[in-house]
């Protein structure tokens, strides 16, 4: 198990490095950062002086090496736009995004697990069909459209919830639903499939034959086993939601990491973009690693594969 962990950690570090290198290169491919910083009305001299001021006149590999060396020491540099240390800004905004991601995950699991269980208990019934419909809609509906629909009904027409901001828990209701709904179908279908498989297993038949109460059989024996892949999925999806919150944070004007990423891309704030991509990818890698370790712990065949 320890060897497996080391191997996976090594791969994770390589992935993080690759992501940072690709990000760095792609940012440069999207245009001259000095032009973006100087603004539209800037003269050639203005742009040149900004290029020199921020060190964009150095070879790209030198810039990357310099950035990587400092990043390994926890120094992501200074945001060109916000004029603050990048690490500080990320540290300030990460909790909002984590909060949104967690709320969305909770919403998704609270909705998907009961529906998945019900669908498995009554396969091909009305409940199962309803759950399937929810899953299909969830997969097909763009999150921005769903977010705007929520805003229209809950914010403008009924005026039940605030439209923008992150001041109170009420601000997180609509964004959490909009973000969480997207992963609900996968979790629900996985729960349903797991439950169907487990419910037809011999040990469940034995438990029923022993006269255990149906609720005990369902929750204590069946769900505990069927839910494991869902937990693994949830860990990975949580990482996805941290990155995927860009759209939702933008729509609901939530001042989190996703919103910061979108803003930084638009204003070519290179140090900020690089750090955000690295932080989010490291989160994703760690969560994937966690899911892998969980699976390996549950299934020894994975460890020796």
């Amino acid at each position: 198990m320890f060897t497996y962990l080391l191997r996976r950690l090594g791969v994770a570090v390589l992935v993080a490095l690759t992501v940072s290198l690709i990000t760095f290169s792609m940012i440069y491919l999207s245009g001259d950062p000095a032009v973006a910083l100087a603004g539209e009305a800037a003269t050639e001299e203005d742009i040149e002086s900004i290029r020199t001021y921020y060190g964009y006149d150095r070879p790209i590999l030198v810039q990357y090496g310099d950035w990587l060396f400092k990043a390994l020491q926890g120094d992501f540099g200074q945001s060109h736009y916000l004029k603050q240390p990048v690490a500080l800004v990320i540290f300030e905004r990460l909790p909002t995004t984590m909060m949104l991601g967690l709320c969305a995950l909770v919403f998704a699991l609270v909705l998907s697990i009961p529906l998945g269980v019900l669908a498995a208990i009554r396969p091909n019934s009305l409940i199962d069909r309803t759950a399937l419909t929810i899953a299909v809609i969830g997969q097909a509906m763009p999150s921005f459209w769903f977010a705007l629909t929520l805003m229209l009904w809950l914010g403008i027409i009924w005026r039940l919830l605030p439209i923008t901001g992150s001041d109170s828990w009420a601000n997180f209701v609509m964004p959490s639903i909009a973000l969480g709904y997207y992963i609900t179908p996968a979790a629900m279908r996985l729960t349903r499939a797991g439950m169907l498989e487990v419910l037809s297993a011999d040990y469940i038949r034995t438990a029923r034959a022993k006269g255990l109460r149906p609720v005990t059989v369902l929750f204590k024996h069946a769900l505990r086993n069927a839910i494991l892949p869902v937990i693994s999925l949830a860990a990975v999806q949580f990482g996805f939601m941290l990155g995927g919150s860009i759209v939702i944070e933008t729509i609901f004007a939530i001042n989190g990491l996703g919103f910061l990423a979108w803003e930084s891309i638009q204003r070519a704030d290179l140090p900020m973009m690089q750090a955000i991509v690295l932080v989010l990818s490291v989160f994703y890698i760690l969560l994937t690693l966690l899911a892998d370790m969980l699976n390996a712990w549950l299934d020894p065949r994975i460890r020796v594969a």
């Binding site: 001299e45 203005d46 004029k83 009924w158 009420a170 933008t250 803003e263």
Partner: protein, 511 residues
């Protein structure tokens, strides 16, 4: 069942009471306005966004004030000014003015500000706004002399729009950033303006409060509304939602279709106002892009005759937009529209194409970065005369690189002139022989230089006219139209739109 429905209704009512959007505006004397940009640095020299241009006029005063109705310059922090020679200007300053931190305004503040921002090490984000000044010196407690680098006839426009005065020593307390450079943008904002800076939360808001001790006799008038809060709301639909629920009092840049629907709703005031931004097509007249069609003036003329600019302004931009014929904005000093015109005439376009050896048209690449629908309208018009334009839509910075490298057969661009009401902010930028100059016509370059170096208005107008006639006559550019913006604001807000795209919130009032 009935009890359950009643309970649900009570919950909904309770929730709406607890969590319903806070209504801003007249009730709490706070004008909330929003754009899609995040503001973190509240300083007119270290943040070059439009938001800070707007806030610059709230929190700071310039030396002069430009009356938008007459185009005249009026005293603001300076009470009078005169040119000693064409690179030296003396200004008498207003007495009794106090900064927001309580310190008195005087000559040393002007000298400090100008010497700081014009220094190459200052790191000012738009050096063009200040690099025309060499230095300043005090001639008395309330008299200063400004030395220019070269003759700069647009000096008054910049002194009224881009040079805001800060207290002496203001930037001395700037912290040193991690990269070892002074972080001047981190210094707390202090000016003499009608509003005093209170607080900024990057990505959320910037709050200003009324300066109750604002100087009497200012052409800006006395501020009326208690607080002005800028909010960052990235998504236009979200801004509209906040507007409809009272979370916002003012927004702009609303797309035409949405603005019209909002107007129909009757809940808000909708206004279409002109801006200083113009749209133009720049041709690759030298054939650097490899697609050499536009080296032939007949082809350029065919393109010009094929595009129905009136239709674009009327159907897409808005009623305040007008077709332009010169490479500048009609409201800018020196911008004559008395130049060769290329009216909409598709038949003439076809005839010119045939004459140039392309009776069946041709295919080329067009590049754009802003308002895709406008460029698509151009493409549609060109298609009607047989010209197939393939659109490459890029971010501004990526497109500007390509333009400089000469890789765009036609680029559909825009220019806002930083709201400077002088042709030197646009024509001189694009036709002085630099990388942005598509033609590098030596005569045009000379005429522009002549206009840029004279302080005599009549001489300037005459020089620019020759340049503008050549630019339009030879079709180095096809000037398209002026931009117009849709403003949407609360019914109870008394607000006047302006032609320079700088909303004067200090003059707004509640009805």
């Amino acid at each position: 069942m009935r009890r359950q429905i009643l309970f649900a209704a009570a919950c909904a009512l309770g929730a709406s009471t607890w969590f319903g959007p806070a209504h801003a505006g007249k009730s709490d004397d706070t004008l909330n306005w929003a754009t899609d940009r995040e503001v973190a640095v509240v300083d007119p020299y270290y943040n070059n966004t439009r938001e800070l241009v707007v806030m610059g006029h709230l929190g700071w005063d310039a030396l002069l004030f430009r009356d938008l109705d007459t185009g005249d310059y009026k005293p603001l922090l300076a009470t009078s000014w005169n040119w000693v020679d064409n690179v030296t200007m003396d200004l008498e300053l207003r007495e009794g003015v106090v900064f927001h931190d309580g310190s008195s305004f005087g000559a040393e503040d002007v000298v400090y500000t100008i010497n700081h921002v014009s220094s190459p090490d200052s790191g000012v984000l738009t050096p063009k706004n200040v690099s025309w000044m060499k230095s300043a010196e005090a001639l008395g407690s309330h008299k200063v002399r400004i030395h220019l680098v070269n003759p700069f006839p647009a000096a008054l426009a910049y002194l009224s729009n881009a040079v805001f005065i800060v207290p002496e020593g203001h930037y001395d307390s700037a912290p040193t950033a991690a990269d070892g450079k002074k972080d001047y943008g981190a210094v707390r904002a202090v000016g003499t303006g009608p509003y005093r800076f209170v607080e900024v939360k990057a990505g959320e808001y910037v709050l200003w409060e009324k300066n109750d001790t604002y100087m009497q006799g200012s052409p800006k008038g006395q501020p009326s509304i208690g607080n002005i809060r800028f909010r960052t709301i990235k998504e236009m639909n979200t801004q509209i939602a906040e507007m409809l629920t009272g979370g916002l009092d003012w927004m702009w840049d609303v797309p035409k279709d949405q603005a019209e629907r909002l107007e129909e709703s009757g809940q808000v005031t909708v206004e279409n106002a002109k801006t200083m931004r113009v749209s133009y097509l720049a041709f690759d007249v030298d054939g650097d892009s490899g697609q050499t069609f536009f080296t032939d003036k007949r082809i350029r003329a065919a393109v010009a005759h094929a595009i129905d600019r009136e239709s674009i302004t009327r159907n897409l931009v808005g009623p305040a937009s007008v077709v332009i014929h010169s490479a500048c904005h009609p409201d800018q000093f020196g911008c004559t529209q008395d130049v060769p015109r290329w009216d909409f005439d598709p038949e003439k376009a076809k005839a010119l194409l045939a004459e140039a050896g392309h009776p069946d048209g041709f295919e080329f690449d067009i590049y754009a970065y802003r308002q895709r629908e406008y460029t698509e309208a151009v493409i549609g018009d060109l298609k009607k005369v047989g010209i197939e334009a393939k659109l490459t839509f890029l971010q501004y910075r990526a497109l500007r690189d390509l333009v400089w490298e000469g890789e765009t057969p036609i680029n559909h661009m825009t220019w806002g002139s930083s709201s400077i009401p002088d042709v030197s902010a646009i024509t001189s930028h694009f036709f002085s022989g630099g990388r942005d100059d598509p033609a590098k016509d030596p005569e045009v370059v000379a005429w522009v230089a002549e206009g840029d170096s004279s302080t005599n208005p009549a001489d300037r107008e005459a020089a620019y006219k020759k340049a503008l006639e050549r630019i339009s006559g030879e079709l180095y550019w096809l000037p398209m139209f002026t931009y117009a913006k849709y403003y949407v604001y609360a019914k109870d807000l008394d607000f006047q739109t302006t032609s320079d795209e700088i909303p004067r919130f200090y003059a707004a009032k509640w009805k």
